[in-house]
């Protein structure tokens, strides 16, 4: 009887806990994997490439403000501000806003000039999903800068029937 017991795969409590822990990591990994979260990311990347023409985008100088939790994605107040002196030789040329999870990633493009005084734009946008929203800014010297914000959308825009 005792010899028979040795043939059975004996599992100790600690081994069992370890295997369960591994399963947990696999589950978490798939949850955070970018391909699942940003289904439309390729579209957004393409839209960004069209804006920049493949030029390098540096992080910083751009602040994008959206509420972190949005109840209704149909009207979300979005503010973009750029740190720039707005003088005749150093100003913000264009502000592009791109949403990674929207069916059409481009949201708007605002063309500024030294006569704008400041680079602050506020508007109301639609968000189809919980996602990252990017602001890509072209300066007068041709350099590109970006800022982004994450948001969680409870009720999505564009899905409702009429």
């Amino acid at each position: 009887m005792k010899t028979n017991m040795n043939f059975l795969p004996r599992m100790h409590r600690r081994d069992w806990l370890r295997s369960i822990q591994k399963l947990g990591f696999i589950a978490l990994g798939s949850w955070f994997s970018p391909s699942l979260v940003f289904a439309k990311k390729e579209d957004a990347d393409e839209a960004i490439k069209k804006i920049t023409g493949g030029a390098m985008i540096k992080d910083g100088r751009v602040t994008l403000v959206i509420p972190p939790l949005v109840e209704n994605g149909n009207l979300v107040v979005l503010t973009v501000s750029v740190d720039s002196p707005m003088t005749a030789n150093d100003y913000v040329k264009v502000i592009h806003v791109v949403a990674e999870g929207n069916p059409y990633p481009n949201i708007f493009a605002a063309y500024l000039s030294p006569r704008s005084g400041t680079a602050n734009i506020t508007t109301r946008v639609r968000l189809a999903d919980s996602q990252r929203v990017l602001a890509i800014v072209q300066m007068s010297d041709g350099s590109f800068w970006q800022g982004s914000a994450e948001t969680f959308v409870t009720l999505s825009a564009c899905t409702e029937m009429v």
Binding site: N102, Y104, I107, F108, S113, S116, N120, R124, V125, V162
Partner: protein, 109 residues
């Protein structure tokens, strides 16, 4: 026949020369995104405003391109420097021959 709708501008009527003024421009428009379906499964065609421009005494100072991601009744808030007394003209152009024009006077001292 072209379409038009109500628009509204909020900005100061007087300003000091060289000061920065804030302008709020809103247009009444559904901004139909072109991604929605009717109950019978038919796609609703896109009907949005594409371009918004602002000229200060006939010089263009601000332009914005709108896409489907802009919400209904598009509002845009931007700034400009008050340079001289005159008229600011705002123009919205969209799908299906939509066009709306609004004007505002400013006195600069």
């Amino acid at each position: 026949m072209s379409k038009t709708s109500r628009t509204s501008i909020t900005m100061p009527s007087t300003a000091k020369k060289g000061s920065i003024i804030e302008i709020r421009a809103i247009a009444q428009h559904d901004m139909e995104s072109g991604f929605r379906y009717t109950e019978s499964g038919k796609l609703i065609p896109r009907d949005i405003i594409h371009v918004f421009t602002c000229s200060y005494n006939n010089v263009e100072i601000f332009k914005a391109d709108f896409f489907s991601g802009i919400g209904a009744n598009p509002l845009i808030i931007f700034t400009t420097i008050a340079t001289e007394t005159g008229t600011l003209e705002f123009k919205w152009v969209g799908d299906d021959g939509y066009e709306a024009i609004n004007q505002a006077r400013i006195t600069v001292s």
